[in-house]
């Protein structure tokens, strides 16, 4: 037998794909443009970029559109695309104090250097459906604002910097390596280093990070942090210029950053705060805070609670992994199921429960013994 073309399976796949595409264009309404998604559904694109580990707002908008709003699927599209890209360079390390913050709250202090910046938030509004939006856009509510040019934004000292200068904050141990290990290029082995933990959490699925972080607060853990601050803003991306050798800013990324202190006294003689850190692409305060709780919990390195075990958290927090494996259960499993049927029938026969007469009441162990169990 030579070459045999298989077409049935491929035609079915194509049709299924076409049906899926049809869902998007089914109604007789205007198509949703990538510009609209990027501009108006920034939370979705931010989540896709954060979980996909690729800062590309326009591609994220495309991914959201293509995935029909499924953020994990959109993040998956970005990751698959990202894995085909060549890596040209690594950026220079950025000081978060340089952030041009559009929002910054410090729950730990009433006032902090640089001030509290409430920024754009719905945190303190009532969650009521705004039926006016059904009728169309009301227009820019800030159009009448009287604004003076305040000049360049000032550098915001991070709150943990203040605590650290007073010696109140526990200093993490120096890592054993100089460069962080890129976990997309070298897979994590357990126990992981902290740089690996932070990377994996930063790409973690928002719901999973939130849920596991919440588990620690809910009582399955000891960490109940005080947030030093949560900030949203733009951070410069700098690379070393190939000719001059100087750092040049090539673009900015919108990020959410969160830092927390935890009153766990590491040393009795010298009580200090432990701390946690969270950072995500896009505006996603929930995930950044959840990550902060998990970072602080994992640093406790205890077997007692799920959120405190790096292995448990890292094994379950990735959206690509959990989504893929949960949904793979839809694949056919009849080979393995036949094998399971064989076991359960054999045991029922042994226990005299079976009456279907498939096998005589002989010992199954005496029958169909494979060669391999003899000797090598």
């Amino acid at each position: 037998m030579g070459y045999v073309a298989v077409t049935a399976g491929e035609e079915i796949i194509e049709r299924a794909e076409q049906l899926f595409e049809k869902q998007r264009v089914d109604d007789n309404v205007d198509a949703l443009g990538v510009d609209q998604i990027e501009g108006q559904l920034g939370r979705l694109t931010g989540q896709a970029m954060s979980e996909g580990g690729l800062y590309a707002p326009r591609l994220a908008a495309l991914a959201v559109k293509q995935a029909q709003g499924d953020t994990v699927e959109a993040a998956f599209l970005l990751r698959a695309y990202r894995s085909t890209l060549e890596r040209f360079d690594a950026t220079a390390t950025v000081d978060p104090g340089e952030m041009i913050a559009s929002r910054r709250v410090s729950p730990a202090f009433k006032d902090v250097p640089g001030g509290q910046i409430l920024g754009a938030t719905k945190d303190y509004t009532q969650r009521l459906l705004d039926f006016d939006l059904l009728e169309g856009e009301p227009g820019d509510p800030t159009a009448e604002w009287d604004l003076d040019d305040e000049g360049d934004p000032e550098r915001l000292t991070t709150v943990t910097e203040l605590l650290r200068s007073e010696g109140l904050l526990h200093e993490p141990e120096e890592p054993e390596r100089d460069e962080p290990n890129d976990t997309t290029r070298e897979s994590v082995t357990h126990p992981p280093e902290r740089d690996e933990v932070l990377q994996e959490l930063a790409r973690g699925e928002t719901g999973a990070v939130t849920a596991l972080g919440y588990s620690a607060l809910r009582g399955y853990g000891q960490v109940h942090p005080t947030l030093a601050e949560v900030r949203v803003g733009r951070l410069p991306v700098r690379i070393e210029h190939p000719y001059t050798g100087e750092d040049v800013t090539v673009t900015h990324t919108e990020i959410t950053e969160s830092e927390a202190v935890v009153p766990v006294y590491e040393k009795r003689a010298d009580p200090q705060f432990a701390f946690g850190y969270g950072l995500t692409f896009g505006r996603n305060e929930r995930k950044a805070i959840g990550m902060t709780v998990l970072d602080a919990s994992i640093q406790l390195d205890s077997e007692a609670e799920p959120a405190e075990r790096a292995e448990f958290v890292l094994d379950t927090v990735d959206g690509m992994d959990s989504f893929g494996f949960i949904e793979h259960l839809k694949l056919p499993h009849y080979v393995t199921f036949q094998s399971i049927l064989d076991r359960i029938r054999a045991i029922r026969e042994r226990q005299g429960l079976s009456d279907d007469g498939r096998v005589a009441d002989d010992q199954p162990a005496d029958s169909a013994v494979a060669e391999a169990s003899d000797d090598d």
């Binding site: 399976g9 036949q338 094998s339």
Partner: protein, 372 residues
């Protein structure tokens, strides 16, 4: 390289065709760039009908080299799980991403590729994987086991004997057999390092105490070369003996868990069992494939409406799981599993001459059982 190179003249097929053997392209020192001239030439010789904007065989050359290095290490330490940086693929994790990375790292334009999912070439997921290789690597595809250089399979080893110029890539969902007795990889890595498999032996013993026999169905814990305990992927127990002293190379690749391991040719593979509770394969007493009549193959049961016995009646029919071999058997019912070899009586697990001294191991338990 991320872009398709310009279609310059070049020696067709040079370079990537030898990707067939894992050793051939891995001679460069670490850190030096991969010579891409020969790859460019191979690409230039291809028809321009691949995926636009993507590299030959989807993955970039550095990644493929890294995967091949992991395979080499896996071959050098049979049964040991080698970490590698599993890339996100355009397939969902858990759907064969490890297998396809291994396959794409091995395939060259001269290769013939077969993909099976649960024994069937026609399964939609198998078709999807085959389509990716077809689109990006320009390989020939086949459903004929004996005609393939590389076979990627989910949960089955074909019924026809694999030879020393064939490679089998098995998709792996869970890499560590010890996961069943301890979920922690850190702890299990220590156990593997010390060859400390006591916890698994206790698990098997508890099985016997509780059920009278070992109740592990697929994913049967298997000792490789007397050293590493291995999860042979969820192949049925039926297929496990085929790995023992095989002529072919088996690569087991997990994408989600980012591990590769291997069973090199002629390696001892022994399922764990007790002398008084021996390893048993699945039994199909008195059953034969309803299509080809085989009694020496792995069968799966299908419930069908038996309209002649009333509206709600069902009957169970058995069919060969390996659809490609079943098709051949329908034309040639006497075809043996080693029909394509120049020797006879090759041991290929249950139902082959050396394994059971007859060809009906599958119905060896027919001591008066009536079936249905």
């Amino acid at each position: 390289m991320t872009e398709q190179p310009a279609a310059d003249e070049g020696a067709p097929g040079e370079g990537t065709t030898d990707g067939g053997t894992p050793t051939a392209t891995d001679t460069a020192d670490g850190g030096t760039p991969v010579p891409t001239a020969s790859v460019d030439a191979a690409l230039a010789s291809l028809e321009d009908d691949g995926l636009r904007g993507y590299n030959y065989a989807y993955l970039d050359e550095h990644t493929k080299r890294e995967v091949r290095r992991a395979m080499l290490k896996a071959v050098a330490i049979p049964g040991h799980q080698v970490p590698y940086a599993s890339r996100p693929m355009p397939l969902a994790r858990g759907w064969g991403t490890g297998g396809i990375q291994a396959s794409l790292s091995l395939l060259g334009p001269g290769d013939t590729f077969k993909v099976i999912d649960q024994g069937a070439d026609g399964s939609v997921n198998a078709a999807n994987i085959r389509r990716l290789a077809d689109n990006t690597a320009d390989v020939t595809t086949t459903t004929d086991t004996t005609g393939a250089d590389l076979i990627q399979s989910r949960h089955r080893i074909p019924e026809e004997v694999l030879t020393d110029d064939q490679r089998l890539v098995l998709q792996v969902p869970i890499t560590d057999p010890l996961r069943n007795v301890d979920p922690s990889d850190a702890a299990n890595r220590r156990r593997h390092a010390h060859a400390n498999y006591g916890k698994m032996w206790v698990h098997l013993y508890e099985n016997v105490v509780e059920y009278g026999e070992i109740n592990i169905a697929a994913r049967y814990p298997t000792m490789v070369a007397g050293r590493y305990l291995m999860d042979p992927s969820p192949i049925p127990r039926w297929d496990v003996p085929k790995l023992d002293d095989a002529d072919h190379l088996t690569i087991l690749a997990a994408g989600r868990e980012a591990r590769i391991y291997a069973v090199p040719p002629h390696t001892a593979v022994e399922p764990l069992a007790f002398t008084d509770r021996e390893f048993t394969v699945e039994r199909f007493p008195d059953q034969a494939c309803h299509a080809c009549g085989s009694t020496d193959t792995y069968l799966v049961e299908v419930s069908e409406e038996a309209t002649d016995r009333g509206a709600d009646a069902f009957e169970t029919r058995y069919a060969c799981n390996d659809t490609s071999f079943c098709e051949k058997r329908r034309e040639h019912p006497e075809l043996s599993k080693d029909h394509h070899l120049d020797r006879e009586g090759v041991d290929w697990g249950p139902g082959t001459p050396d394994a059971a001294a007859d060809d009906d191991t599958g119905s060896a338990a027919d001591q008066g059982g009536t079936g249905q």
